[in-house]
Amino acid sequence: MADSLLICISAAQVSAATWHDGRFARCTVFGNDENGVVAFNEFLQNSKRMPVKVIVDAIEEDYRFESMPHSFGSDRSEMLNRKLKQHYRNTPYFSARLQGRDPGKRRDDRYLFCALTNPELIANWLKAIQARDLPVVGIYLLPTVSAVLPEKLKIKPPNLLLVSVHNAGMRLTYFRDQKLRISRLARTETKGAGAIKGYAEEISNTRLYLHALRVMTLDEHLSVLIVDGNDSLSELEQSIGRDSPNIDCRRIGRQEISSSLGIGIPSLESSSDALYLHLLGLRAPEHNLAPATVTAGYRQHQLRRGVYMLTVVSTFAIAAWCALAVYQIIDTGIDIENAKKQTSGLQSQYLEETRQFPAAPTSAENLERVIEISKKIGATTRSPELMMQMVSEALEQNPAIHMRLFGWSYDRAEIANDGNASKSAASATNIPPPPPGTDGRKQSALIEGEVRPFRGDFRAAIESINNFAASLSKNAEVAEVKVVKMPLDINPTLSLSGNTTDSGEQTGRAEFKLVIVFKQSV
């Protein structure tokens, strides 16, 4: 539990205690005067950056229980602010809390408004706190703090009047259905023989006051809880039990307070406000009277703490990640070293095995591959023999054809039709890539020849050439036969000249060129 400084300000005195590990050792009490403020300043010197929670126990307080139309969000805030400003124009210390809904048809919201109507009471003390840059968590009225008490004591009557005696007088706080409804500080005689009688009268008066306010009727049963921190009110308990039959009275003494709430006897005895400071330390009430200007320091304190927490969490997260990464790097490094050792061992074993191998000029893989390559190259090697046989047969079938030149090529590109060898396949860029498993080469041949005898009959010569080409095309190995040059170029884009003299002798030449291309698989 975070350390904090707990302060209770009343008209008579100011009690301060340092809350640490869910308790405080003892209260330091200051008089509510100039000397007290000076002493308080000295006391604060030891409380650096410690959040401060302030209880105010004063007669100048106000409680209003009102119903308002049900609303929520910004509408509710606006309405409440308007109402608070309307009720409490002269003080900045006020608050409003929702206490439930009306049982009627409208189901209006019920609010408890409360305020410290004399801000001057705490002004000097608050100034001293702020001068030390101590963040103020909140300012609370004592009855709102004491609301924790019945809950801690597990007392849950529908009508409960909490009674306690302070230096400033007698405090009577009424709870309806475990919710604070009203509280008053009655100035009565707290010492002497008439004190108990005066207390009993105040309780009776309070009952009448509640009846007048229509909070409860006189017929209703009322439970009175007397908080007797110094064991001086046992007589009051007996008096109420004797005189008021419809009042159920219970007193909790010093020992019970100590055992029920976990406050040490010395702490309890250190101040009359010790019990309430302890309750405030246990849980701050929701009714915080401090305006935003007063709690700004605490807000900044919280933000700073949040950022520091985020820094700590980030540092731990980063450190954890880095530690894990370093561990993994080291672990992986060890694995690498182990793998290297194993690899080295396996390689040594392999070398040992290879000593039994027959001496080979290269690795087994390369040996196998060399044999495979030699077979593949052997399978792709071609000679012009097949082409020559085919041409020879075609020439026998066409005796008019006389061959003058035979060219053969085995390349990715076809043989050139000018009689020269084809371009190198490696340098040819317009050759499509070969199908898988082949090198893309194919056989092709160029035949240059003439038709003999030729007596000027171009039609007959061309027919002989076409017949020769057709004879070649019949072979299954042939993919294509192209006549690239005819004896007579009848292309209409070119000029044409000649002599039509009809003679029985040889006249001119009927030359042609022909390209044969084999299928790629041949």
Partner: protein, 209 residues
């Protein structure tokens, strides 16, 4: 949050920024180191797996060597494996000319170059080369060409592939149409590719050295 809040938060925010910056730098550096370490481990694991596989297959490897070594030696003897044997080629050409009863062969061998169809043969570490030889000769008839090529192949001078050939009738013969016995009628020229390959030395070869 107003200006006062921000002022109050200045130092904590600076501290947070410094921590985050240092942390980001450390995370970046360590992440890279970890990635590199994992990559090295993966590589080393692959090496180890390869070594294990190699060891497991050493028996098979031995069988492969025993099975293929004679053929390899034969290819080495033929001049297919190892350095070029140009002297053998020329000698083989000379003998082929004699045995084919030709009228002499003129040859021209170009500089050695990479074999252009090597990539189709998946050669791995093996380097394939070729040297192009252009030969020119005179023939009595077309059949002499095939006889020459067959004879050259039988010489065992090397491993060659015929790229192209051309036969052309001699001008006089074509003009007169009267062939004189034992006089060349045809002029031929061919381009042969003498193919060789070199394989890197293996473990056993290194071991013997």
């Amino acid at each position: 949050m107003n200006a006062d809040d921000l002022k109050a938060l200045r130092n904590p925010l600076i501290l947070l920024a410094v921590i985050v910056a240092i942390g980001a730098g450390a995370i970046y550096y360590l992440d890279r180191s970890l990635t590199a370490a994992r990559r090295d481990f993966a590589q080393q694991t692959n090496l180890m797996r390869d070594a294990r596989t190699k060891l497991q297959r050493s028996g098979d490897e031995k069988l492969v060597i025993v099975r293929h070594l004679p053929n390899y030696k034969n290819l080495e003897r033929l001049g297919f494996v190892g350095e070029e044997q140009r002297l053998n080629w020329v000698e083989g050409l000379r003998l082929s000319n004699q045995q084919s009863q030709l009228f002499g062969i003129t040859y021209q061998i170009s500089a050695q170059q990479p074999y252009p169809y090597a990539s189709d043969l998946n050669p791995g570490q093996i380097a394939l080369h070729q040297s192009l030889m252009k030969i020119t000769f005179n023939l009595l008839h077309e059949g002499d060409l095939m006889r020459l090529l067959a004879t050259l192949g039988k010489q065992g001078a090397g491993f060659f592939s015929v790229n192209r050939c051309q036969l052309e009738r001699s001008g006089a013969s074509v003009a007169t149409g009267a062939a004189i016995r034992y006089q060349p009628h045809l002029r031929g020229d061919c381009e042969l590719a003498w193919i060789t390959l070199t394989a890197p030395p293996g473990v056993t070869a290194e071991k013997k050295q």
